[in-house]
Subunit: 200 residues, 2 copies
Amino acid sequence: MGMGRPREFDADTALDQAMEVFWRHGYEGATIAQLTEAMGINPPSLYACFGNKEGLLKAALDRYTKLRGVWMDEVVAASTAREVAERMLMGIADKQTDPANPPGCLLVQGGIACGTGSENVPFELASRRAQNEDQLRDRFIRAKAEGDLKRTSDPAALARYVSAVAVGMGVMASSGADREALRQVASVAVQAVEAQSERG
Amino acid sequence: MGMGRPREFDADTALDQAMEVFWRHGYEGATIAQLTEAMGINPPSLYACFGNKEGLLKAALDRYTKLRGVWMDEVVAASTAREVAERMLMGIADKQTDPANPPGCLLVQGGIACGTGSENVPFELASRRAQNEDQLRDRFIRAKAEGDLKRTSDPAALARYVSAVAVGMGVMASSGADREALRQVASVAVQAVEAQSERG
DNA sequence: CCACATCTGTAGTGAACACTACATATCTGG
DNA sequence: CCAGATATGTAGTGTTCACTACAGATGTGG
């Protein structure tokens, strides 16, 4: 029993291209024709490899969050809650306006509202965003235990807040906000975390 | 020359229904069939009255921003920048989780990314959000002139920040965040404005 | 009551969509 | 070199989409 004809394209490279299409047009706005052209393959190859359009999105999201996870690890490695927030939001200001990628964040651009048959796409994105939020929350819990954050502060609320600002910045970026505008937002946003810090 | 058969439906009532469909499913996710059913009319009536799908969206946005404008006037009527931010964000926490409406904000849910042929829909939404931001900015400029905000603070940046938080809260609401979670975000967010206030 | 103008419901239109049948090509194991 | 297995390219499939032709209904002005 042979192992069959080998795949002629690299799945990760193809996923990078698919990611960009979803990022720019959203899940519903991206067509199979656009995706296959960007990936340099034909529809049967796409379906054989990823199942269907939603399967392709999930694979692209896996790849996106994996790359993003590496960066988040660096973010939460900062020594104070304030610096965590600053690294995160300033980094996002830069990443979301990096001309190498579409503006904004795939986890937002992918699809906030979807039509019949794609109702779970927004939830899929939301659950990925929640992972980031959980990572932030855990870091802020530690900051509170260390006395970095005030004893009255709520780490979960702070994490939700930073996450919300990040999402808002993503939407602004996708509608044309430039890097400087996003940095200003980040700069103001950090002050709320600073107000929760013991040495604010 | 007669004036023709009169319209049998009320345009504003029909727009309220269309607004809800766009709000829940987004521009691309909403189908003409869903829209006409919700509006209680047939496609020819829709096209005769609103031109096309995008014309219907714009009419719905006009109605949405008109209603929202009344509320924004109350928000900026607050006596300090801090209270403006608090009224705005706390109000948004409540409105975006009001069971009478779909969760989130139409100006975000409507469509952040769109496919070929609808590229200007996201810009249309962004320009409406910018109107809110401008109103906030003008209010913060006044606050600075009055000595309410510090002389070092940037009213435009503050307005962008509050606007970004509002958008982020909208996305969170649409993906299931409850009222209490949004209020916590608002509560933290206000502290950044407080930090820019002279009597913080 | 008639000419004219506008609305309404039925029943479609062509185009674009996600997805696939099928023949062919390219591999492995024996 | 052959049999089995998987990938590929061509060329579709049925469905759903936004949108509309058309005939009949309902109004106004003369």
